[in-house]
Amino acid sequence: MIDIKQLIAISIGTIFINNFVLSQFLGLCPFIGVSKKLDSVMGMGLAVTFVMTMASLVTYLIYHFVLKIFEIEFLKIVSFILVIAALVQLVEIVLKKTIPVLYNALGIYLPLITTNCAVLGAAVLNIDKEYSFISSVVHGFMGGLSFLLALFLMATIRERLELADVPKPFKGVPIAFISAGLMALAFLAADKAMLSAITGE
């Protein structure tokens, strides 16, 4: 039932090789928007991980037990958006009452990532790659961690860029995008073919 090899392949693959932000270019909006200071990075990264995992879980169930039964798989994107939005709202309401500390830490980020393409992308990729239930959830979780990694690297770089002698037209967002592009090039170095051959993914 639980294919450990596939899970490990998914984990390493999603974080380093198919990094959601730097290789698949999903979730760029919060990536640029929230990476100015290092403090907000942890909150945002954990919020995205949380939402992605739950979204992968729920959308898997919706796809296989509602859409497939009624043969309307073509509605997957619309229904996923609906489900994810409702889910995040539910989580925010419940969190506010049950764990106020957690709500204070990452509550403000939850509305930002409700219909983020990274979250939707994780859900749709699960279906496209025909993952099992456990694999889908793990894929969602690792996707969130990959986002956190990229965000962390970006924030540390941007804090130093603040103090560097950047030419005036490039200050702020432009130099951030250039840095992100260079980071994406660096992540290309992870050899997909080699790792695929080892793990058989």
Binding site: F70, E71, L75, V94, T98, L163
Partner: protein, 306 residues
């Protein structure tokens, strides 16, 4: 023919199911919201509105909302907000039904006058223009190891832009604009920013504990510990400890004469410290701002005025 039926069937099932899903989610969420409703004391909202909203943390609580919650839930003192001052204390008092006195207004001042024209430099620094970074290399690039590093970390962190810097890397704080949040105090790596009472009159703008002989060599505006100020005012008001003069703010003796007679001109007014000259009208103690000083770091790297 059969195709049309399939299309119609798909469309109708799709519409039916999605609207059903949306509808049930809506009802579900409304129900959950009612069940998990969190009661917020309306006074907290009102207090958050009248607080300055700077989120400086001077009160000791995490931001203005933190202080508002503590006020309503834990019943703490209402005079802890230093940017707010009298008006905020009065307004909070009206809401909560309490009164309190204003706490003594403290402002931050930079205890160093050593800019590029008066202070000797040990080495040229060509890295990040960040105070902590420069301070990590032998406590700054000036020969005086007690001095202001001049890269402006305090300027960047001040929420009201009360700290200024000019092209000679002179850094000073405008006491009228300072709200007393103490963010600059914590961010300064050489700890030359300290709090003084706003109505304290004068302060000694130097932090150097080096003996006078050494100070004379490395900085034109350093306290040499000559004790002339002690004689002009009184040892109760201003005393030289460890080669550095310090003002005692509990005493109220006037320091004007001491300021004029100070041979290094380091006793400067707390309010209106826009220039470093002590009272031009009265006295001849004019400081020459010339670049002929034998300064090892003479390339002006176009430090932007913050």
């Amino acid at each position: 023919m059969g195709d049309i039926f399939i299309i119609i069937r798909n469309i109708s099932v799709g519409i039916f199911l999605l609207s059903g899903l949306g509808f049930s989610f809506g009802i579900g969420l409304a129900f959950i919201a009612k069940v998990f409703h969190v009661e917020i004391d309306p006074r907290i909202e009102k207090i958050i509105e009248i607080l300055p909203g700077v989120n400086c943390g001077a009160c000791g609580y995490p931001g203005c909302s933190g202080y508002a919650e503590a006020l309503v839930k834990d019943n703490v003192e209402i005079n802890l907000c230093s940017p707010g001052a009298d008006e905020v204390i009065k307004n909070i008092g009206d809401i909560l039904g309490k009164t309190a006195e204003t706490k003594l207004k403290l402002v931050a001042k930079v205890f160093c006058l050593g800019d590029d024209t008066v202070a000797l430099k040990d080495y040229d620094f060509n890295g990040e223009e960040d105070c902590t970074t420069v301070y990590n290399f032998f406590q700054g690039d000036k020969s005086c190891k007690y001095g202001c590093v001049g890269r402006g970390n305090c300027i960047r962190i001040c929420p009201v832009n009360a700290i200024k810097r000019d092209q000679y890397n002179r850094v000073w704080i405008n006491a009228d604009e300072c709200i007393g949040c103490e963010k600059c105090v914590s961010v300064c790596p050489s700890k030359v920013i300290k709090m003084v009472p706003q109505n304290g009159g004068y302060f000694v703008a130097c932090s150097s504990k080096d003996p006078g002989k050494i100070v004379r060599k490395i900085c034109k505006k350093g306290c040499i510990g000559c004790k002339i100020c002690e004689k002009m005012a009184s040892a109760d008001r201003i005393a030289v400890i460890d080669n550095l003069a310090e003002v005692n703010y509990k005493s109220k003796i006037d320091l004007h004469n001491a300021a004029i007679k100070c041979p290094s001109d380091v006793i400067v007014p707390i309010i209106n410290q826009t220039s470093f000259m002590v009272d031009n009208k009265n006295n001849k103690k004019e400081v020459k701002q010339d670049n002929n000083y034998d300064n090892k770091s003479n390339d002006k790297k176009n430090n932007t005025i913050q």
